[in-house]
């Protein structure tokens, strides 16, 4: 029954494979090899072994960029996943017209991050921005800040923007999951006298555990790759307070022309992301989301 070797299948996969190999696979391998050299991006390449990697571990800004990114991820998990869950819970209560709210919460997700970044840079503007103006009109002038320009407010301010964009996205995913739950489950719960709180925490959340897990992974990996928001709103400032791996990489490679070092940083980041992916697979409960009902 098995067919002989045949060229057709290869012709079908060739365009995708070649395209991917050329634009992604080859550059990954090249980045890895660049990381063992000192190179400005032009001219001579000097082999330096693991020097770039050793330098990375001694580079305070680089090490701090991981601290910053974990901080950012912690905020975004809270502002995207937790808020997304809360919104999904609210939207699946049995009220009319929730479709309209769903559209409203999802809208920011449609905008390019660059647009969002500029818009929010204005919202945070110290002179005419919405936040300070609102605080002023509430008589809370002492609460005003130069939100993106102060060490203690910069990171949370950027995270809030990310929450504004993605909370609706996660809400939509969780909403879709909650819709899968059979109606009988709720009916049984209500017959037993369960309150809406109990329904939310005991039924809705456990039954979309698989989606929450996917959401967490997306949020963490997305956090690592954040760039646009930071580049436009703070560009790593003030005083490197919001320097993250990606903004730092771009500076090292394209401003300092330190391609070898930048490549080593990129390789390290790839390893970290891969580890997180693997860890996630290991840690996840085997039967998450397959609760019986």
């Amino acid at each position: 029954m098995k067919r002989k070797w045949h060229i057709a299948p290869y012709l079908f996969v060739a365009p995708a494979v070649l395209m991917f190999a050329f634009a992604v696979l080859l550059p990954i391998l090249l980045t890895f090899s660049f990381s063992f050299f000192k190179w400005k991006g032009y001219g001579d390449m000097t082999f330096t072994g693991f020097d770039n990697y050793i330098r990375a571990f001694k580079d305070k800004i680089y090490v701090m960029s991981y601290v910053h990114i974990f901080e950012y991820i912690a905020f975004t998990v809270l502002l995207e996943i937790v808020v997304g869950l809360a919104l999904a819970g609210l939207i699946t209560l049995n009220f009319r017209g929730t479709g309209l709210f769903r559209v409203a919460f999802f809208t920011p997700m449609m905008l390019p991050m660059v647009i969002v970044s500029y818009l929010w840079a204005f919202v945070y503007n110290a002179d005419f921005g919405l936040v300070n103006t609102l605080l002023h009109s509430l008589g809370l002038d002492s609460w005003q800040h130069v939100w993106l320009g102060e060490n203690k407010t910069a990171m949370i301010s950027v995270s809030v923007v990310s929450g504004w964009v993605f909370a609706g996205f996660y809400m939509t995913i969780f909403y879709a999951g909650i819709q899968r739950i059979p109606k009988e489950v709720y009916e049984a719960a209500h017959l037993d006298g369960a309150t809406e709180w109990q329904v939310f925490f005991r039924i809705k959340i456990p039954m979309i555990a698989d989606l929450i897990e996917v959401g967490l992974l997306l949020c963490i990996l997305g956090g690592f790759q954040a760039f646009d928001l930071f580049y436009v709103m703070t560009n790593g400032g003030p005083n490197n307070r919001t320097e993250i791996v990606t903004t730092y990489l771009v500076k090292i490679v394209f401003k300092n022309a330190d391609v070898g070092y930048g490549s080593a940083l990129a390789v390290l980041m790839t390893i970290v992301i891969t580890l997180i992916g693997v860890l996630f697979n290991k840690l996840k409960p085997k039967d998450a989301g397959k609760l019986e009902y």
Partner: protein, 284 residues
């Protein structure tokens, strides 16, 4: 939860609960919408008014700021570039992705597992693990500052997800479909084109929405590979515009509104498809 529960006791308590619910939801909606509304009203004001009364409604809704921003901001060029880049990218992702997905799902060949594993890798590899070397490869091949400098990586980045989603769709199609077509003497390509592709439509539209949004919004590569003003896409074009008119707030607000409003209109018109396309794309 279900309506019957509430209907059975149409109490005062329920009405209070409902009023509270709508109040909270309205407030949340305002939080999501107000920044965008503020952007639009500010775009009709003068710089002075933006400073002196940031919350107020503009004295008159005058599109002068918009037309000025459109003209001096080169916006038509950026919009056209985004349109070209995005549509070419999406077309090729759909073509290459569906061809590969068909082969991975319905044809047997040596090395298919390995090649599929390569695309799994692609699902997880962040842009940062390859953009540095990609930059120098493109420089070496004189691809920078051409449309291909964006189109090629956008296609490559979109393919892993496309292959997976479409393969999943293909796997759900019955085997008999292939066998009977082959009995009728159809070649593999005819089966792909005439039988499978039309059945893949829902998957294709998810992939199209997902890749269109990604390439429309992409920023980092656009920033690194395109310096030529006449080839910039909307995200980087806006960046160039804003650095030139850094304190010209009403112009910046106008430019932002010009880009945002069409996107919101598209979303409101097609939100059902967009949302299902996006969530399906990210959940599979």
């Amino acid at each position: 939860m279900s309506a019957t529960i509430y209907k059975s006791k149409p109490s005062l308590r329920h009405n209070v609960f409902a009023a509270g619910y709508y109040a909270i939801m309205m407030m949340l909606s305002v939080m999501f919408f107000y920044p965008m509304y503020w952007m639009v009203i500010s775009s009709f004001k003068s710089n002075r008014k933006i400073f002196s009364s940031p919350f107020s409604f503009p004295e008159k809704v005058d599109l002068h700021n918009w037309s000025q921003a459109w003209k001096i901001g080169n916006m038509s060029v950026y919009a056209m570039n985004s349109l070209i880049t995005t549509s070419v990218t999406v077309a090729f992702i759909l073509l290459f992705g569906s061809l590969a997905a068909f082969a991975f799902s319905k044809l047997e060949f040596k090395g298919s597992k390995l090649l599929l594993a390569m695309f799994v890798l692609g699902l997880f590899m962040p842009l940062q693990s390859y953009f540095i070397a990609q930059n120098y490869v493109f420089e070496f091949l004189n691809l920078k500052d051409t449309r291909l400098a964006l189109i090629i990586p956008y296609i490559a980045m979109g393919l892993p997800l496309a292959v997976f989603l479409l393969k999943a769709h293909n796997d759900s199609l019955p085997k008999e479909l292939m066998e009977s077509s082959r009995m009728d003497g159809a070649t593999d390509f005819t089966i792909y084109w005439r039988v499978i592709l039309p059945l893949m439509m829902p998957g294709l539209s998810s992939v199209a929405i997902f890749s269109a949004l990604n390439s429309w919004n992409e920023f980092l590569l656009a920033l690194l590979y395109i310096q030529d003003e006449s080839l910039k896409t909307i995200p980087t074009g806006l960046l160039a515009f804003s650095s030139r008119y850094i304190t010209n707030y009403h112009m910046l607000f106008s430019a932002l509104s010009l880009v945002t409003i069409p996107m919101i209109l598209v979303y409101v018109l097609f939100h059902r498809h967009i949302v299902s396309g996006l969530t399906e794309g990210s959940l599979k």
